[in-house]
Amino acid sequence: MHTDNILLIKKGDVIEQRPLSLSESFCPSVITPLECFLIVFKGDVNVRVDLKEEGAFCSIKTLYLASKTNKINLNIQVNHLASQTKSSQIIKGIATDKSKVFFNGNIYIDNKAQKSDGFQNHRSVLLSDDALVQAVPALEIYADDVKCAHGSATGPLDKNALFYLLSRGITEKMAKKMLLESFIFDMVPNEGLAITQQWIENHV
């Protein structure tokens, strides 16, 4: 089974795939915004984005899939350093077995970055009582005319949803698969589907 961390990054009209390195930094501009998708299975991942040009934009979607005794340290730092810059981060994860996930998400908005917009949302599902997810989202804002929002939620699969599927004759394995797929599929690009589906199949 494939367990190297993956980076899918949009270059023009195509999506390039390469291994995700320990430290990634990006400096998107108006003409070349950053649109990327990360799949993280284990280890340290540090992503830094500097929005230095007025109106620059980045969208970072991250999916972590933690199993066994794997440990993930995920740090995402987005720096808004010019006015009217915009960032969007969606982080979703599934943790099972005895895995541990530590997520730090920072949005820094400089005093020069007026009218900027920073968004971050983190949601994760715990499939085992022994799995741990610790999320620390942080906002550091030095401008007074900005929009910034963040949110985080972690918990087991919804019991009522699971019972509803079971009550229709769907097996527990299949029901969990359906719920997990519906949880993440709105964010996974086609290029990442097969590997994600395979992981879910192996871990429910």
Partner: protein, 247 residues
Amino acid sequence: MAFLEIKDLHVSVGNKEILKGCSLKIEEGEVHAVMGPNGSGKSTLANVIAGNPVYQVTKGSLLFRGENILEMTPDERARAGIFMAFQSPVELPGVGIAQFLKTALNEKLKSQNKNPLDAVQFIKRLKTRATALNISDEMLKRSVNEGFSGGEKKKMETFQMAFLEPDFCILDEMDAGLDIDALKTVSQGINVMREKTRSFLLITHFQRLLNYIEPDYIHIMIDGKIVHSGDKSLAKILEEKGYDAYR
């Protein structure tokens, strides 16, 4: 052997006992209604038969066609032919209705060592049942219950029931929140399913539903027990006297 036989059933949620010795017998082809005030344990009874793990059975027995279903998981019970239409169906964003029903039906066929439906057979069955309940193609393309009104959710529950063709249908507060037109459509959907080999358990507070779906028997549940049973004329008496006469 009875179709469904419940004997001296005691059920708790946490430390609170809700069913306190409930007994009920249903034969094949019969329609039974359980009526009672709020908090009497009616919905608990429905959920326990369907296997909701929130409820713990502490005493008593529950036999479906002679088989002890308390030892079966909710999905095993469903594949054995039990269906509950939920009082408050959950929303499943991202789970399409067609995919959901196809999976449910094919799991059932698989457990009976039958072949799954092919795409053409599936669409045909889906469309036929949907048309009968005035469910549009647009609605079938949506996620299960997502953004549906209360009435649409109840219609969807009836539609799922019609599609899956269970042998035992439990309808938990089917009339709650339905306007008169929706109630008629849903009742019609249920009535066409009445057959010699299919039984129903209707849970309701109100006589209103029983004007549209005529039960063979009515049971009154008070404080976790069935305190009185009779034929359909009992509904009229209840309407006049209320539940107080049975407390």
